[in-house]
């Protein structure tokens, strides 16, 4: 028995078989480590430097998703050796299975092609600056959702590159690894996009409010004349995103008596949930 699993009584010298609670000093040390990590992340954004590489490390875990499919595909081969007596029957069945699997794959490939074509036709700027990425996962954080995408090794993507769908802007790259990139979505509360509205031509910033919630246009004077249903585009100011990419549309304008500013809500054009492929636009000027 290990020594730390029991204490010895001072009175009788007998073993006391009680599991000791963890030492408070170790708990305090761990808490201090966590607090220092939090502070370094808040003040120096230290996590953004390592998150992309961390996602590369977790990639094999994601690859496990494919194992069940691989096993199913290998079943016909393993059965073939066992069932020589019913060879002809099984051959037919196997062919049938193969055809079904091929059909499924063809259907999938054609759907993916269709999606890629739609995406590509939406590219309006210099086509050489675009590259395709594929969605890997989305984090469950409600206020700070992150989209993880697979990127090609040695791709020329950079931090702050815009992620686009066929409908409009999705977010920007905040961390890059060798095979992964983390995207800060427009829905993220940290996200603030310079925009211009379609009809009133007013410049403003759209801030995210969390996944499943509309964004809001910040610090708008009550005299501003927004219209419901008005489209909101990137303004290109600050050089973060190219100009004229659709961000969303205005769904609500409220003039609250106790507020200094107008309360304008923007419904984002694209949910990150229902798409597998995206375009990344790399701005050469940056």
């Amino acid at each position: 028995m290990r020594r730390r699993e029991h204490k010895v009584s001072y009175l009788s010298s007998e073993a006391i078989f009680a599991i000791p609670a963890m030492k408070p000093s170790r708990v305090i040390l761990s808490l201090l480590v966590c607090v220092s990590l939090i502070l370094s992340d808040i003040f120096y954004e230290s996590s953004f430097k390592i998150r992309g590489y961390a996602q590369d490390l977790f990639m094999p875990i994601g690859a496990i998703v494919n194992i069940p499919a691989d096993i199913i595909i290998s079943i016909p081969d393993s059965l073939k050796t066992r069932s020589q007596l019913k060879l002809s029957l099984e051959r037919a069945e196997e062919e049938n299975k193969k055809l079904k699997v091929i059909n499924q794959f063809l259907h999938k490939v054609s759907k993916e092609n269709e999606e890629l074509n739609t995406l590509w036709s939406s590219a309006r700027l210099n086509l050489d600056n675009y590259s395709f990425v594929r969605k890997r996962s989305i984090s469950s954080s409600e206020y700070q959702p992150l989209l993880i995408v697979d990127v090609a090794f040695n791709s020329n993507l950079g931090i702050n590159d815009a992620l686009l769908s066929s409908s409009g802007l999705i977010g920007k790259i905040v961390s890059l690894g060798l095979f992964s990139a983390e995207i800060m979505l427009l829905h993220d509360v940290r996200s603030s996009i310079p925009v211009v509205t379609e009809i009133s031509k007013l410049h403003a910033n759209v801030r995210g409010s969390g996944i499943g919630r509309p964004g809001s246009i910040e610090y708008i004077k009550k005299t501003a004349s927004y219209e419901l249903g008005e489209k909101v585009y990137t303004s290109g100011i600050a050089g973060l995103f190219p100009e004229g990419i659709l961000v969303g549309e205005i769904t609500s304008i409220e003039d609250l008596a106790d507020s200094e500013f107008l309360n304008v809500e923007v419904s984002f054009v694209q949910s990150p949930f229902n798409q597998d492929f995206y375009l990344v636009y790399t701005d050469e000027k940056r």
Binding site: C34, L37, I38, V65, S137, I138, S139, V189, G210
Partner: protein
């Protein structure tokens, strides 16, 4: 391989599987209300074998979750360490209580756990991160409910696993 190391490995295997389930298996629509399996698993091992799972495991898996989820680095770490400490401190009392009572306690624990993520650490938008966000409150309630309902399942599953594989 020594028995201790084998046990440790088997325990970490369950934690990694839970991490995998958390990160990749759920449809995107349910991400904000799905239970945190890695935390449930960590709580179970703290109850069942408190001398085998310690602060280091809690801290490491907390940081893993931070890296995967994109939350502030160290936030899950701090929560996992605190929950591990509380679990180890009170595991004698918790372990002997009936399953429904355990689930009831975990409901409140998970509800409070979720509220931490509504805190505005970097002063972004003061209007959003408070209890007036009804969507967040509703999601927190559902999250705590699903987590507490999942607890008996996790407990029975891991108990079977422990008795079958993790030998003392």
């Amino acid at each position: 391989m020594k028995r201790d190391k084998k046990n440790q490995l088997l325990i970490f295997l369950t934690l990694f599987i839970a991490l995998y389930v958390d990160s990749y298996l759920f449809p995107s629509e349910y991400l904000s209300t799905k239970p945190t399996f890695v935390l449930l698993t960590l709580i179970y091992w703290n109850m069942a074998l408190p001398d085998r799972v310690g602060i280091t495991a809690a801290l490491s898996f907390g940081i893993f979750v931070d890296l995967i989820e994109g939350t502030l680095l160290g936030l899950h770490g701090i929560l996992f360490v605190l929950i591990t400490y509380v679990c180890q401190r009170f595991f004698y009392q918790f372990r002997v209580s009936p399953l429904w009572q355990q689930s009831f306690i975990l409901f409140f624990l998970f509800f409070l756990y979720k509220q931490v993520f509504a805190l505005d650490f970097i002063n972004i938008n003061q209007d959003l991160t408070n209890l007036s966000d009804r969507t967040f409150l509703k999601n927190s309630f559902l999250y705590a409910l699903f987590s507490s309902l999942t607890w008996p399942l996790i407990l029975l599953l891991l108990r079977y696993y422990r008795r079958r594989w993790v030998k003392n």
